[in-house]
Symmetry: C2
Subunit: 227 residues, 2 copies
DNA sequence: ACGTTAGGTCTACGTTGTACACTTGTCAAC
DNA sequence: GTTGACAAGTGTACAACGTAGACCTAACGT
C-alpha cells in the first residue's frame, strides 16, 4: 500500500497548508499568518514548512493561487463584449470577495497561475473585440483587474479588527471623528459621514465598483476612437 | 536664548523624522523603514522615537500625512465639473507619484489630515454638481480616490528592487516567463508580454488611469440618471 | 540488504517592535 | 538660588518573527 505509507510519511500537504493559511488570514488578518502559527496548527515544527515552501513569500503566493483557483469563469456567449466583460469581472470579484484581507496577494499571481492567465486572456479577447489595440487592451485590462482587487481589498471593515465588538467600536470612533469636523468647513463630508465610514450595502459597494470599471472602459473607448 | 536651548534639547523633530522615513521608503522600500534604522540615521536610540510617535503605525501615518501635504489643490474655476474633477484627481496623483512604494499609506489619512479632507470635500462638491446624491458622491468619490492610490502604488516597477541591475533582471525574468507560455493557449498574453511586464510610458500609464476613473464616473452618471 | 532521499526535528542567529526603569537638561515658581 | 516637575533621550530586556544548518528516521528503488 504505497499510497497509505506515503500518506503517513508526509503529514503535510502544500494545498492544505495554503488552505488553512487562507482561513487564518480571513479570520485574523494577514499579519496572523506566520510560519510558526501555521506550523503549530498542523502540529509540526516551523521548519517543516520549508520542505513545501521555499520561503514565506512562496507561502503567500500559494494563498494567492488558492484564491484564483476559485474563479468560475463564464463561458463565452454571443452577448455584447461589455456584457461578457462585466460577467468575467464579476466572477473574478466573486472569487476574491470571501477574502478581502488578502485579496492583494492574488495580483502577482494572475500572470502565473492558470486560472489567472485564463482570466487575463479572455479579458484581452473581449477588449480587442471592443476595438482596443493589443497593447491598449493589455494596459486597460491590467488596470481594471488591479482596481477590482483593490476594491475587494479595501472593502469597508475588512481592515478592522476581527471581533465584532472591537469593529463596532472602531467604526463608532471613526464616525465620531468625522462628525466632530467643523460642518461649515466640510459640509459634505460631515453630511456623508455615515456612508464614508461604512457604505450602506456591501453588494451595492461591489456593484458600484464593477460599474465604474466597465463604464470607464466604455468611456475611454469612445474617447480614443474619436482621435 | 530659550529657543536655542530648546533646539539643543530636542534633537528630534517629528516632521523631519517623517520626511527622512519617507525618503528611506522611497529609495529602499517600505520594509526598510524600521524604528532602529530611522533612529540610527538621526544618531539616536531607537526608543527615542517613541517620544514622538506612539508606535510604528503612528510613524507610518505621519508618512502618509507628509505625502498628502504635498497636494496642490487647484482653485475652483467655472469649467465643467468633469474637467475640474480631472484636475483635482491629477493633482492628487501628482502628489503621490514620487512615492509609489508607500502611496497606500495615504489612504487611511485622507479623512484625517486637512489636505486630504479638502480634497475629499472638493471632490464631493463636484460630484454633487454633476448630479450625484450626497451618498452616491461619497461612495463614488471614495472608490475613485482608492483606485488612484492603487494606480500609484502599483506603478510598474515600484515593487521591484531599487538597484537598476536587479530590476532589469527581474523584468527580464518576468518577460521570459510570459514568453515561455504556450502561444496557442494564450495568444494575446504572449503577444502583449512586453506591455504587461512594463508599460511603454509611465506618463501614459497615469493618464490612462485617470482617464479610466473620470470616464467611469461620467459613465455611471448617465446610467443612473436613466433609472 | 542497503544506500538514497523526502519529510520532519532541534538548535541557533539576527532582526523586529516595544515595555520599563533610568538619567539628564530645561524651565517655572517660590 | 533652590527646588520640583517635566520633556527628551538612554539602556536593558523580552517575545515573536523568518530562516540557516545539522541532524534523524522511515520508506523506496535496486
Amino acid at each position: 500500500m504505497a499510497t497509505i505509507s506515503k500518506e503517513t510519511a508526509r503529514r503535510l500537504d502544500p494545498e492544505k497548508l495554503a488552505t488553512s493559511a487562507l482561513a487564518l488570514a480571513d479570520t485574523e488578518g494577514l499579519e496572523a499568518v506566520t510560519i510558526r502559527r501555521l506550523a503549530q496548527q498542523h502540529e509540526v515544527t516551523p521548519m517543516a514548512l520549508y520542505r513545501h515552501f521555499s520561503d514565506k513569500d512562496d507561502l503567500l503566493a500559494a494563498i494567492g493561487d488558492r484564491m484564483l483557483a476559485d474563479i468560475a469563469l463564464p463561458e463565452p456567449t454571443d452577448e455584447r463584449w461589455d456584457v461578457q466583460l462585466r460577467a468575467i469581472l464579476t466572477a473574478f470579484v466573486a472569487a476574491l470577495r470571501p477574502h478581502p484581507k488578502v485579496a492583494q496577494l492574488a495580483l502577482f499571481r494572475i500572470l502565473v497561475t492558470e486560472p489567472g492567465l485564463a482570466l487575463a486572456e479572455r479579458t484581452m479577447e473581449l477588449l480587442i473585440e471592443a476595438g482596443f489595440s493589443v497593447d491598449d487592451a493589455a494596459e486597460v485590462g491590467r488596470q481594471s483587474i488591479c482596481s477590482l482587487i483593490t476594491l475587494v481589498n479595501m472593502e469597508p471593515g475588512s481592515a478592522e479588527v476581527t471581533d465584532p465588538i472591537g469593529r463596532e467600536d472602531a467604526l463608532r470612533a471613526k464616525r465620531a471623528a468625522l462628525a466632530a469636523l467643523p460642518p461649515r468647513r466640510y459640509p459634505l463630508i460631515t453630511a456623508a459621514a455615515d456612508v464614508l465610514v461604512c457604505p450602506t450595502s456591501t453588494d451595492a459597494y461591489y456593484e458600484l465598483g464593477i460599474d465604474l470599471a466597465v463604464a470607464g472602459i466604455c468611456g475611454i473607448l469612445t474617447d480614443r476612437q474619436q482621435h
